[in-house]
C-alpha cells in the first residue's frame, strides 16, 4: 500500500469529507434484521434449558478500516482513537471496554462499537487520520449473532469448514469464512461462546439455519 501525499494546491485545501450520522433522531427506533422474528417473545415463551444459546447483539456500530499498519503515523492515530492498537498478527482480535477490533486481512480491520458511538468515532477518524486510508460504516449491512452453550461447537462443526478445535481456534481468534455457505466473521469470545458477524440479507436465513442445526441439542433464545 502506498501513502498518497497531497502536493501543491491540494496540500493547502481543507479536507471536505462529509460524514453522515446514520442513526436517525431519538423519535425513530432502529430495527434489527431479525425484527420480524420477535426474539423477545420467542425468548419469553421458549425453552430455558438447552445445549445452544442464541442471542442477537443488534444495532451495533461496525466500521471497516483499511490502512497501513506499518505506517507509524496511521497506527498511532488508530491506537489513540480506538484506545487499543490495531492487531497485526493474522486472525487475532483485541477488545477494550466496549470497543473491539478484528483482523480481517493484512490491511483491513473490522471495528465494533456501540451503535450510538459509531458516528463520533467515524468523525474522529476523518478529522485525525493522516495519509491514504478508508473507513466505511457498515453497520446497516450487518448484524451480530452470539452463540454459546455446551453444544455450540457441534453446531459450528455442522455449519463451517473451519477447524474449531481448541488447539486451532483459541479464545480471541477471528476468522473470515463461510457459515452455512454464507460469509461470516467468526470470533471465539469464550470457551463455549462464539460471535458471528453476518450480512443483513442473510440474517433471516442464518437464524432459520441455526434453529434447525441446534434442534437436536435444544435451542435457548435470549433477548
Amino acid at each position: 500500500m502506498s501513502d498518497v501525499k497531497a502536493t501543491g494546491a491540494e496540500a493547502t485545501s481543507v479536507p471536505t469529507k462529509v460524514v453522515m450520522n446514520q442513526l436517525p433522531g431519538a423519535g425513530i427506533v432502529g430495527q434489527s434484521p431479525l425484527h420480524h422474528a420477535d426474539l423477545e417473545t420467542v425468548a419469553k415463551n421458549g425453552p430455558k434449558q438447552g445445549g445452544v444459546k442464541f442471542k442477537e447483539q443488534k444495532l451495533m456500530g461496525l466500521l471497516t478500516l483499511r490502512c497501513n499498519a506499518q505506517n507509524p503515523e496511521q497506527a498511532a492515530v488508530a491506537e489513540k482513537l480506538l484506545g487499543v492498537a490495531l492487531p497485526t498478527t493474522p486472525l487475532t482480535s483485541v477488545e477494550k471496554g466496549d470497543t473491539s477490533v478484528r483482523w480481517i486481512s493484512p490491511d483491513e480491520w473490522l471495528i465494533v462499537v456501540p451503535g450510538n458511538k459509531a458516528f463520533a468515532l467515524e468523525s474522529a477518524f476523518f478529522a485525525d487520520m493522516p495519509g491514504h486510508y478508508s473507513l466505511v460504516n457498515v453497520s446497516g449491512g450487518t448484524t451480530i449473532y452470539q452463540l454459546s452453550g455446551a453444544n455450540v461447537k457441534d453446531v459450528l462443526k455442522k455449519s463451517t469448514p473451519v477447524d474449531i478445535h481448541d488447539s486451532e481456534f483459541p479464545v480471541g481468534k477471528v476468522v473470515s469464512t463461510v457459515f452455512a455457505k454464507s460469509s461470516a466473521v467468526i470470533r471465539r469470545t469464550g470457551e463455549q461462546s462464539f460471535e458471528l458477524v453476518v450480512r443483513r440479507s442473510f440474517a433471516d436465513y442464518l437464524w432459520l439455519w441455526i434453529q434447525d442445526a441446534s434442534r437436536e441439542f435444544g435451542l435457548v433464545v435470549e433477548a
Binding site: I104, S105, P106, P161, V162, V175, S176, T177, S183
Partner: protein, 99 residues
Amino acid sequence: MFHIYCPHCSEYREEEEFHYHGQAHIARPLDPDSCTDEEWGNYMFFRKNPKGIHHELWDHAAGCRKFFNVTRNTVTYEIKEVYKIGEQPKVVADAVPSK
C-alpha cells in the same frame, strides 16, 4: 477438495473459501497500442494447459480476499507451494528436453 495454505492468513483453509483465477504471471503488454493483433490475442486469450507443474492465481474469496499464487501439479493435483503476488515460484517445471 484442496486444503490450501493462505500466505496472508498463515493457515490452511478449505477450498470452499477460495476462488480460482487461472494462469498466473500474465504480464499485460506495456504499450497495447503498438501490439500486433497476434500479440494482443496471445495476451488476451491463449493460456497454458500443461501436464505437470502449473502456476496459477487464487483468491481467498471468503477470507482475507487477497490474491496469491499457487504452484500445482495438474496430474496429481498436489500443491507444491504458495507464494505472494510479486514473488517468483521456487518450484518450476523441468525444461523440455530438446530433440
